[in-house]
């Protein structure tokens, strides 16, 4: 401390020390404490281990969603091409009539519908 305590402060310090001393726990039985420590260590390790599978499941779910999206996009393009071929339309003629943005937003909407979002 940067200042010398006065008498009342010194006495108060002693009171605080004794109050704490009286309520302070007895020395721990370290053999018993070690069992608790080991249990806590086990919990920490299990928590770490359980986090790993969660990351893998999340990665697998992402991969699945992306594959579904790619599959849906492929199906969509194939269906459109077949439909246009059936109608005798040329792919280039359709693209020239419709703006690219509308084509893309329709594609995105179909992907989202087919993947359940």
């Amino acid at each position: 401390m940067t200042h010398a305590p006065d008498d009342s402060q010194t006495r108060r310090g002693r009171v605080l020390g004794v109050l704490a001393e009286r309520a302070a726990p007895a020395r721990p039985d370290l053999a018993a404490a070690r069992k608790r420590i080991e249990a806590e260590e086990l919990v920490v390790r299990l928590e770490r281990a359980s986090r790993r599978p969660r990351v893998l499941v999340a990665a697998a779910a992402c991969a699945l969603v992306l594959s579904c999206a790619a599959f849906a996009a492929g199906s969509y393009l194939r269906d459109r091409a077949l439909a246009r071929a059936d109608a005798g339309e040329s792919e280039l003629a359709v693209l020239a009539q419709r703006p690219m943005e509308a084509e893309m937003s329709s594609l995105v909407a179909d992907i989202f519908n087919s993947t359940g979002f």
Binding site: D6, V18, L19, P25, A26, P28, R36, V44
Partner: protein, 195 residues
């Protein structure tokens, strides 16, 4: 006045962090009383709660020692663990209280009335007024006052423990001393706080 943490403690702590059980036991034996007193202050001098807190501190200390690098004193590291354990504990109690809206889970128990000179002294009006006034402070403020006045820790070490600037420790202690003095007066004893 608590002896400062010397290189022996740092060495023991580093060894304990590497899994040396004997070093851990020696460290606990040498620091337990000091850590126990801080736990008691944080627990509002409730013996049962202090014991629960100290048990938690012991586990946290063991699990946290591998992260100790020896750049701060072992005391700062250990007192910080006490502070964090108490903060978590009070948060848990507050959560439970909100959830159940029941009465306070724990009430401070009166000091064991076993006879003896120390107990007689503690039953004096002033000591009781100080105790009641301390109970009206927040646990973290109680710990700060206890470490400063009861254990005699300096501003720099307190700053490390509480994660604040030394200047802030000084101003907070000044405010706390004034507040404690006022509370002691309210509790019916005319203690003279430092002006």
């Amino acid at each position: 006045m608590a002896p400062p943490s010397d290189t022996g403690d740092v060495d023991l702590a580093l060894r304990a962090g590497r899994g040396d059980h004997e070093a851990f036991e020696r460290l606990v034996a040498s620091w337990w009383d000091r850590l126990g007193r801080v736990c008691a202050a944080l627990a509002g001098y409730d013996g049962a709660l202090a014991e629960e807190l100290a048990g938690d501190v012991l586990v946290r200390l063991y699990l946290g020692l591998p992260r100790y690098r020896g750049d701060a004193s072992f005391g700062s590291f250990a007192y910080r663990i006490c502070r964090n354990a108490a903060a978590d504990h009070w948060r848990k109690i507050a959560r439970e209280r909100r959830r159940f809206s029941g009465p306070r889970p724990r009430q401070s128990e009166p000091i064991d009335p076993a006879p003896g000179p120390e107990e007689t002294w503690l039953r004096e009006e002033e000591a009781q007024a100080i105790r009641r006034a301390m109970l009206r402070l927040r646990p973290q403020d109680r710990a700060l006052l206890h470490l400063a006045e009861g254990e005699g820790l300096g501003g720099v070490e307190l700053a490390r423990i509480f994660g604040i600037a030394p200047g802030t420790v000084k101003s907070r202690l000044h405010r706390l001393r004034k507040r404690l003095g006022a509370l002691i007066k309210e509790e019916g004893h005319d203690a003279c706080p430092r002006r």
